[in-house]
């Protein structure tokens, strides 16, 4: 009777062992490309990222778009929830992995986070580049019938519920990314219809909305987009966590007088 061997099944990765060690790879191929013998010298980081997610080399415009998106997302700044979470690790000397886990946990969320991007990409999938469909979806959002580990999103995905107007970095990113992509693509369409969409959403476009459009135009699925968005925002979280570790808790907000416990029973009287 033949024994079934447990193995990893993958379309992404192939290995050939060193002759003297079955556990050391002599050659590695990613989607057919020899990683260390060929790809290493020729592919950029973002080209390799695209290959990993899509299984094909990106076209020139796709590589340029992903590169620009990666720069735009790399550091949302220390006020962002994901970076803030990472800094709370860094400032108190937590492990660096935990800082990035914290960044992922907060950055996964539905206000400027990766799950919001996925929801916005699902909207793209449903509404395409049809303004009426977007307006209907934004004004009458679908409510999930079933409860889930993710709570129901509280605003139109891809838009900033606390925004007064579309922030300049969002407009600058959209403008630049739209220039890279095809004029018939999602980014150009978003730029053209931004004001109408903001009216329907009753909120200005957010960076998550630009990212969703870019990821959609790159041909990624919502789950691929969610994962990539998580990944691309880690550099800033890492750098800010390291910086706060140097500064220490003395220079970090603690909100000493910021907490108002309205049902505080007060100090116990000495008996």
């Amino acid at each position: 009777m033949s024994e079934q061997r447990d193995s990893i099944h993958t379309r992404i990765w192939r290995e050939q062992a060193e002759p003297d060690n079955a556990f050391a790879a002599q050659r590695c191929w990613c989607a057919g490309y020899d990683v260390y013998g060929d790809l290493l010298r020729k592919a950029s980081w973002t080209e390799y990222l695209f290959l990993l997610f899509r299984g094909e080399r990106p076209a020139r415009w796709q590589a340029a778009l992903l590169e620009a998106l990666a720069v735009a997302l790399a550091n949302p700044g220390p006020r962002d929830a994901s970076v803030s979470a990472a800094m709370n690790g860094g400032v108190a000397g937590s492990t660096y992995a935990s800082c990035l886990m914290a960044a992922l946990a907060a950055g996964a969320g539905q206000l400027g986070g990766a799950h919001e991007v996925a929801l916005a990409m699902q909207l793209w999938r449903r509404a395409g580049m049809r303004l009426e469909a977007w307006q209907a979806a934004l004004q009458h959002p679908e409510v999930e019938e079933r409860v889930d580990i993710w709570p129901q999103i509280e605003h139109a995905p891809g838009f900033d519920p606390h925004g007064a107007s579309c922030a300049l970095p969002v407009r600058q990113t959209l403008q630049y990314l739209a220039q890279i992509g095809a004029p018939s693509g999602e980014l150009a369409w978003l730029q053209q219809h931004r004001l109408a969409l903001e009216t329907a959403a009753n909120a200005p476009l957010a960076m998550s909305g630009v990212a969703a459009a870019a990821l959609q135009q790159l041909g990624l699925s919502a789950r691929e987009g969610e994962m990539l968005f998580l990944l691309l925002r880690l550099p800033g979280a890492a750098a800010h966590a390291l910086e706060q570790e140097e500064h220490g808790v003395g220079k970090y907000p603690f909100y000493r007088d910021g907490l108002n416990v309205t049902n505080d029973p007060g100090p116990r009287l000495a008996t």
């Binding site: 061997r5 447990d6 193995s7 990893i8 099944h9 993958t10 379309r11 992404i12 990765w13 192939r14 290995e15 050939q16 062992a17 079955a22 556990f23 050391a24 790879a25 191929w29 989607a31 057919g32 490309y33 020899d34 060929d38 790809l39 020729k42 592919a43 299984g55 080399r57 492990t95 992995a97 935990s98 886990m101 946990a105 079933r146 409860v147 889930d148 580990i149 519920p161 606390h162 925004g163 007064a164 107007s165 903001e198 009753n202 909120a203 200005p204 909100y255 007088d257 910021g258 907490l259 108002n260 416990v261 309205t262 049902n263 505080d264 029973p265 100090p267 116990r268």
Partner: protein, 265 residues
């Protein structure tokens, strides 16, 4: 546009009834002095008080404890436990191993999703029954729509070995004949009498037990978060003391490639 008014109003200011630390004086926990007023609570009592703001009877806490006990499997092949074991094998830290293993427990085929969807299914089914719906129709609608019932059926095997011991304890504590527990068994009966052949798993029974305690779906989900953790630690400890990297190592030929042939960049 709403604008930033809400953010402006919240700057440097958090109003809460959940609690806070008064350095050197006291800690307030949901309106009570942690070190004086709540010292009668054990950790589970405090944990569920933190989630719900409610206190539970000794019988209920015994059941809540036991649910966690019965979900703590020190088997490193289970996917969440394997995260802890892999981390131990490569000499990562305990906190990283366990917190990552807990995070991946929020899964679709086990853990987080079935946990919250199961109690939600029971609570909605009960409402529908009270409005006159037939349980057979409720179950059929659920299966037709979602291709399954959360809490029924199980990865790997069909039978759940935890049901018997848990029901024995529930009976001892007088909690085995509550409405949601009866509903859980009624659903299983409908499934077995139909063509579905899905047996109740532990997620269903535990959801029924906490629903009978008045947990909302969200409260039940939060209660369940650490339920696997006691089983993770042995996996981490074992992998940590064994030779490094020796936890189910994979040789290169165990990577079974399904992709395109070799090509040049």
């Amino acid at each position: 546009m709403n604008g930033p008014r809400q953010l402006e109003a919240s700057m440097d200011r958090l109003v809460t009834q959940m609690g806070g630390w008064f350095p050197g004086q006291r800690t307030v926990f949901r309106g009570h002095d942690l070190h004086h007023d709540l010292s009668d609570l054990d950790w589970m009592g405090l944990y569920v008080f933190g989630i719900t703001g409610r206190r539970f009877s000794p019988a209920q806490l015994t059941v809540l404890h036991r649910i966690w006990t019965y979900t703590s499997y020190p088997d490193p092949r289970l996917w969440n436990n394997r995260v802890a074991a892999v981390a131990g094998s490569v000499r990562s830290t305990g906190s990283l191993a366990i917190s990552a293993a807990m995070a991946v427990s929020e899964a679709t085929i086990y853990g987080g999703r079935p946990v919250i969807r199961c109690i939600d299914f029971f609570q909605k089914s009960k409402q529908q029954q009270e409005a006159g719906a037939n349980l057979v129709d409720i179950v059929k609608w659920q299966i037709d729509k979602y291709r399954g019932i959360p809490g029924y059926g199980r990865p790997i095997v069909g039978v759940d070995e935890r049901i018997g011991p848990m029901m024995k304890l529930a009976a001892e504590q007088g909690l085995d004949q509550q409405p949601f527990v009866r509903l859980a068994f009624d659903v299983e009966r409908v499934l077995l009498e139909g063509r579905y052949r899905l047996r109740m798993n532990f997620a269903a029974l535990s959801a029924a037990l906490t629903a009978d305690m008045g947990f909302s779906a969200r409260e039940h989900y939060l209660y369940f978060i650490p339920c696997f953790v006691a089983g993770m630690l042995p996996c981490f400890v074992d992998a940590s003391v064994k030779p490094e990297g020796a936890f189910f190592p994979l040789s290169c030929d165990r990577v079974s490639y399904l992709g395109v042939p070799e090509r040049v960049w």
